[in-house]
């Protein structure tokens, strides 16, 4: 009771404290000039060193290109060590990424247009060299984003060398060539697809590139009797029915529809389409094969095992090349575990292989040496030696 009283007594004082010195508060609406000056004080000027550290782009006119040079031969050595594991020794691989070299001819280099892109050429793959029209793009991208698991670790000279090697693989450069900032403009004039781009379209949101005033495709506004007959020209083949997993597990449990159970074959739709006839045939099928148990809708709980090493496998990008059960660039962890399960010194052996890299045990694609601590490689090897449990 006394506490309540005291509080009530204090109330007028508090209110007075809030309301009396009105002029001491900030104005909600500052004059425009004051606002502008205040805005201009947000943020700071970038230092020249900061701009230099981040301004790494190279434009099609080669503005931003650092001085330097690299030879095809230097590029080849670099390629085997750092690039071939994903792209293949000849930049031809489609195992992991789309192929880089291939599909271009001496005639393309002369013309600046790639025959393999022409109608009816039936070129199955479109390689980087079939598409790239500006050499700055190759240099810039290798410099900013390669190698894939350790981007921005190449020196400028190494980027020149890797670029030169790719161009050598496409017969754009001879084997004894050294690419540099001094001759790169001449090499640009040998790119096979340098004249293969157009901006004559209406899909650029501005007028800066010329382009086209009107979109090139327009639909129809027909509402009634728009076509004589409707023919299904394309549909998914039966063998692809379950290719995206069981669709029953990819739809909500309530509502006007369910996902279809794609673990079971589709019911053929008879041309006559009589409901009775169809239900008869499906019943017969159901009697032959016992009804499938309801599919669990809850994802399998993660088991310990892989969970204990997964942070390490991700930190060192092991999972970029090794799958749990499936071969990617290298063998799956399961295959490694099976191969070495009877080896007494498996932990030591695998630790050594992880750190040193290698080639031959699993095929021609080399594994680069990995920079990880002894404790980390031992932990991964332990997990492998114990069967690479998921």
């Amino acid at each position: 009771m006394s506490r309540f009283k005291r509080a009530r007594c204090m109330l007028p004082l508090v209110l007075a404290g809030v309301f009396s010195p009105l002029t001491g508060f900030a104005q909600p609406q500052a004059p425009a000039a004051v606002r502008q000056a205040a805005l201009a004080n947000v943020g700071r000027t970038a230092t020249p060193a900061e701009v230099k550290a981040w301004d790494i782009d190279v434009r099609p006119d080669f503005k931003g290109l650092p001085k330097g040079q690299g030879s095809v031969r230097q590029g080849e050595a670099l390629w085997e060590a750092q690039c071939a594991s994903c792209h293949g020794s000849f930049a031809e691989s489609s195992e992991v990424f789309t192929p880089i070299a291939g599909g271009t001819t001496a005639q393309d280099i002369k013309n600046g247009r790639v025959d393999g892109l022409m109608p009816g050429a039936n070129q199955p793959n479109r390689t980087t060299l079939m598409k790239v029209s500006t050499l700055s793009t190759l240099w810039d991208y290798i410099n900013r984003a390669m190698p894939w698991t350790a981007p921005k670790t190449l020196t400028a000279d190494e980027v020149y060398a890797a670029t030169a090697y790719i161009l050598f693989l496409g017969n754009v450069l001879p084997e004894n060539f050294t690419l540099s900032d001094a001759n790169i403009r001449e090499v640009q004039e040998r790119l096979p697809n340098r004249k293969g781009m157009t901006t004559a379209h209406a899909m650029w949101p501005g007028k800066e590139l010329g382009g086209a005033a009107k979109p090139d495709v327009q639909g129809s506004s027909c509402m009634v009797n728009c076509k004589a007959e409707v023919v299904i020209k394309s549909f998914l083949p039966d063998y692809a029915r379950n290719a995206h997993g069981n669709l029953a597990e990819q739809s909500r449990l309530v509502g006007e529809t369910r996902g279809v159970d794609t673990t079971r074959p589709a019911v053929a739709m008879s041309a006559a389409g009589a409901v009775g006839a169809q239900s008869g045939s499906t019943m017969a099928q159901a009697e032959r094969a016992p009804a499938a148990a309801p599919v669990s809708v809850v994802a399998k709980p993660a088991v310990s095992g892989a969970a204990s090493v997964m942070p390490l496998l991700q930190k060192h990008a092991c999972v970029a090349c090794h799958g749990m059960d499936n071969k990617l660039v290298g063998p799956s962890f399961k295959d490694i575990a099976n191969k070495y399960k009877d080896r007494a010194d498996a932990v030591n052996y695998l630790s050594g292989k992880i750190k040193a890299g290698g080639q031959g045990a699993w095929g021609a694609i080399p594994m680069p040496p990995q920079a990880l601590s002894a404790a980390e490689s031992a932990q991964i090897s332990q997990w492998l030696a114990q069967g690479a449990a998921k």
């Binding site: 598409k131 495709v217 509402m223 409901v275």
Partner: protein, 447 residues
């Protein structure tokens, strides 16, 4: 009467044959099927989903469930709320075989199960070129500089504290990958709307107009015609954006998404928002803006995201996502449980502005009727449409066709291929067809 208990059947409980039996009105068969399946379900669920409706009524009503007779969970039991246990089927998913490594891959948004126009942030589609990161926002910086010394009065650096006290705007926009529906250029290739159209999401984004930042830097607006946006991650994605679009005020440097910060998979703590333009230009982990006087020919403007035309030329700098729509339910991979009334629903969008109109067809495009547009209808934002469909049990082919405020009409596959053939990979905005078969199953087809 019949449909009342059928709709309560759990997912995957009825096989397609059983669904067929249900439609044929064979209640006895159905009761048997329920009884047989009940044994393999969790006891509580089996009881709740059990047999046919007895004369006196359903047990769900007559027998009060535990949640009506007990004490529920306390507040803040989950400091960050999660969807119901029963919603786990709706996940973003990869398309098997599309990519070989999942750090340079895409996960598709489950459009088949979403309502309205806003994508829950946890289901937003993902596209990473070199893996995603969760970046400490206190260490993140945005730099603005010029392609030469005079392009800006001063190059500037902003930290997140500074960006977040500048005048902000919040706007709802769709984001669609330029390669969305790319697998379908030549033929039907994937089964559901998640995989045909799921590189599409829509959020309310909050941030600072890039124009405001350029004004603070004193950009030379006479010479500046392009900006380059660059990410801070390993791929350091770069894309060229026209200055005219930036000066319209539409392009945002955004930190907010649906009321919270961006999710790490979507660029936390900072990304570019380029309304109407394909997702690759919405650079994530945005670290730098360069103002320049020529386009940059980035990797994703010269090697990828170039559209091969019948002439053998590639279209470069194709950016606008053109008028497009899709029926999301009923859609491929689903089964209709009942004849009779159904709500046909879907999404429409255009990178050129607002959706003016959507028509739907249930006979493969022979005849069309106008769908209802649900509000709000916003520029460069998803628009939800609905239409009534009464199924008589016969085959049908669902289609939708959108028209935007510039008068562009979504084309059929034949109209699109007549001009651009089928090797483009990017910017497929053709009308999607879903074939409903007599057995209730809906399949992806092209007509």
């Amino acid at each position: 009467m019949l449909n009342r208990f059928i709709q309560r059947a759990p997912e995957n409980f009825l096989t397609r044959e059983q669904i067929h039996e249900v439609r044929a009105g064979r209640r006895g068969f159905l009761a048997g099927a329920f009884a047989a399946a009940a044994g393999s379900l969790a006891a509580s669920r089996a009881a709740a989903q059990g047999a046919a409706v007895p004369a006196e009524g359903e047990p769900e009503i007559l027998n009060l469930p535990p949640h009506s007779k007990g004490l529920g969970q306390p507040v803040a039991a989950r400091g960050y709320g999660l969807p119901s246990e029963f919603e786990k089927n709706l996940q973003r998913r990869e398309s098997p075989g599309l990519t070989r490594v999942s750090q340079a891959s895409v996960s598709f948004c489950p459009l088949q199960g979403l309502f309205g126009i806003i994508t829950p942030s946890g289901l937003h589609f993902e596209r990473h070129h070199q893996g995603w990161w969760d970046i400490d926002p206190s260490k993140h910086r945005l730099m603005l500089n010029g392609s030469d010394e005079t392009m800006l009065k001063r190059p500037m650096v902003f930290n997140m504290d500074e960006l977040m006290r500048l005048p902000s705007v919040s706007r709802m926009h769709f984001i669609e990958c330029g390669a969305n529906t790319g697998m379908e250029w030549g033929n039907s290739a994937v089964p559901t709307v998640q995989y045909t159209h799921g590189m599409l999401s829509c959020s309310e984004f909050t941030g600072v107009p890039l124009r405001t930042l350029l004004e603070l830097c004193g950009a030379d607006l006479k010479r500046a015609r392009f900006i380059l946006a660059e990410g801070a991650d390993g791929s350091s994605m770069t894309r060229t954006i026209p200055m005219s679009l930036v000066m319209s005020g539409e392009v945002l440097v955004a930190y907010g998404q649906n009321g919270e910060m961006l999710r790490p998979e979507n660029g936390y703590p900072l990304r570019l928002v380029v309304p109407g333009v394909q997702g690759v230009s919405w650079v994530k982990y945005l670290r730098r803006i360069e103002v320049g006087d020529m386009p940059y020919g980035a990797k994703d403007e010269t090697i990828h995201y170039v559209d091969l035309q019948p002439s053998g030329l590639h279209r470069q700098y194709t950016s606008i996502q053109e008028v497009k729509s899709v029926v999301t339910s009923p859609s491929g991979g689903q089964v209709l449980l009942q004849k009779g009334f159904h709500n046909l629903t879907g999404l429409a969008w255009s990178g050129r502005g607002k959706i003016r109109r959507v028509d739907v067809s249930v006979d493969g495009g022979r005849n069309w009727t106008q769908a209802r547009l649900e509000g709000p209808v916003l520029s460069k934002c998803l628009t939800r449409f609905n239409a009534d469909f009464v199924w008589d049990g016969k085959p049908a082919i669902f289609q939708s066709r959108a028209v935007d405020e510039t008068g562009q009409i979504q084309p059929t596959y034949s109209e699109l291929r007549k001009v651009r053939a089928s090797r483009s990979i990017y910017h497929n905005n053709a009308i999607q067809s879903w074939a409903l078969e007599e057995n209730g199953e809906v399949k992806n087809v092209q007509v």
